[in-house]
């Protein structure tokens, strides 16, 4: 017999194998089933199309969470692509159209229609419009706004222009400075904006005559100036834009600026989109505000620099306010060169601004 060659050990092995087979045959089936169930319960989930569908739908489950110890993130960040597409296909191009378009519209307006001159010569008598507190607050918020707008625009569009223009070394410090300025000045801007809005609120409650102001395009449509109180319809619109979109930008900015409070990646994606849309929109409108306040209309800027405006300007642009305060007008000489408006007796008496 050929098997003899393997000696007794071979025979023992065969006998053992037979024994195992017999044992398996007579083992209780229930136990085998329990074994299988236990294995299924602890086994790694098989990767099936359904699993992938669950993962991609953004469902977070113990089986498909990413592996960092404190993570609540899904295995696959499906919302990331949506954020990317919204940012690069919508926010970025349309923001450029809004801001660039505004510059073009203002330039055309200035060339074709030109500066809004005073309708009569100046009377030389001045009315206090903006007290020192408001002016310093305004210019602080304005400077911060400009720094944040420029650094924000650099963060969104800078790479398309400055990297190839200046090279990596300068671009690197430029963009790094932009981020630091944006992140550290942003909260300051937010707080001061809220103070400024609170201070300005009393002038900006909408009135019936504001509708008429808009109907006449602030004086562009038809003849003469539409009625306006201390703040005209346009100024009130700018105020309420800042009080809504501006505060949304501030709030979303805080969400983005302090990731150490554990807000999720998805929250920050939405905060980023709100921040971008709001900030680009406000930047576009701010260009209009800056134009009207500086070269766009004669006599406006001096209100925010010296605090006083000419009677003629007040009559032209804020006739209802002028009627209220015309008896408080001061001759130019009475103000003096370095006289602080805060010292003015008329300010304490009537508290304008």
């Amino acid at each position: 017999m050929s098997l003899c060659r393997y000696g007794p050990t071979a025979w023992t092995s065969i006998a053992l194998a037979l024994l195992l087979v017999l044992a398996a045959l007579f083992a209780p089936p229930a136990q085998a089933q329990a074994e299988l169930d236990r294995e299924a319960a602890t086994a790694v989930v098989g990767v099936s199309p359904d699993i992938w569908r669950q993962v991609r739908s953004g469902e977070v489950d113990a089986n498909f969470r990413d592996t960092r110890f404190d993570s609540t993130y899904n295995l696959v960040n499906s919302s990331g692509e949506r954020w990317r597409q919204l940012r690069t296909r919508w926010v970025s191009p349309f923001g450029l159209i809004a801001v660039g378009g505004m510059i073009v519209v203002i330039a055309l307006f200035y060339v074709i229609i030109g500066r809004k001159e005073l309708s009569e010569p100046r009377t030389g008598r001045k009315l206090l419009r903006w007290p020192l507190f408001v002016r310093s607050l305004h210019w602080t918020v304005a400077s911060l706004f400009i720094v944040l707008a420029l650094s924000g625009l650099n963060l969104l569009y800078g790479k398309f222009v400055f990297r190839s223009l200046f090279g990596d070394a300068i671009w690197g410090s430029m963009i790094s400075a932009s981020k630091l300025a944006h992140n550290y000045l942003g909260p300051l801007f937010g707080v001061l904006l809220i103070v400024l809005l609170a201070r300005m609120l009393k002038h900006n409650w909408p009135k019936r005559h504001d509708l008429e102001w808009f109907r006449q395009g602030g004086g562009l449509v038809g003849k003469g100036h539409p009625d306006a109180g201390f703040a005209n319809g346009g100024e009130k619109l700018w105020f309420w834009l800042l009080a809504t979109a501006g505060l949304a930008v501030v709030a979303s900015g805080f969400v983005l600026d302090f990731p150490n409070y554990g807000q999720s990646r998805d929250t920050m994606q939405w905060a980023n989109l709100i921040h971008g849309v709001g900030a680009l929109g406000l930047t576009a409108v701010a260009l209009g505000h800056i134009y009207i306040g500086t070269i766009g209309s004669e006599g406006s800027l001096e209100g925010m620099t010296t605090g006083y405006v000419d009677e003629t300007w007040a009559k032209d642009h804020h006739n209802l306010w002028y009627e209220e305060v015309k008896d408080q007008a001061l001759p130019e000489e009475a103000l003096g060169g370095d006289r602080r408006p805060g010292d003015s007796p008329s300010e304490t008496a009537s508290r304008p601004g």
């Binding site: 199309p49 963060l155 990646r265």
Partner: protein, 161 residues
């Protein structure tokens, strides 16, 4: 192995990402400002912040370099900033090198796919090795075969909407 159309590259405000000739996506830590946009965009959580500091400062972004280092003036600086550049030494990325079951492979996508297909065939799955071949699938289903399992094996998660 790394993305063809990398979201991190698309959203980076500093444009610090670049793709090597081998298709590896690397980033320049001298340009990175740690804004975290690549983290928002990446489907796989690859970019990760190295630290958590006061005022939300989290340092410059770290990411898988496919063990291919990054831009630096010297080898020491490269190692310091990006870890080992094993690709330059003709080696595999460390994860693939060390993976005890050889589940992690690295290399050209087509080669890696071929290896996986051979494994499926080698382990005796009837359809897995050929799934995705429409003509064969038609023949098989006409012959009355159940192809659901083959479909599952062929499921490519990256191509589903």
């Amino acid at each position: 192995m790394h993305c063809d159309d990398a979201p991190c590259m698309a959203v980076c405000p500093t444009d610090c990402f670049y793709k090597t000739d081998d298709g590896i996506v690397l980033h320049d830590k001298d340009l990175c400002i740690g804004c975290g946009y690549c983290l928002y965009a990446c489907p796989f959580g690859a970019p990760q912040f190295p630290k958590q500091n006061a005022f939300g400062e989290r340092g410059k972004m770290d990411k898988c370099t496919f063990c291919a280092g990054g831009p630096a003036d010297s080898k020491e600086e490269e190692y310091e900033k990006y870890g080992a550049n094993r690709i330059a030494e003709g080696k595999l990325p460390l994860c693939a090198e060390m993976c005890s079951t050889k589940a992690l492979l690295a290399g050209d996508a087509q080669t890696v796919a071929d290896i996986f297909r051979q494994r499926v065939i080698h382990r005796g799955h009837r359809d897995g090795g050929w799934s995705g071949n429409p003509r064969r699938e038609q023949e098989r289903s006409r012959a009355g075969a159940d192809l659901t399992q083959a479909d599952e094996l062929a499921y490519d998660a990256t191509r589903q909407g």
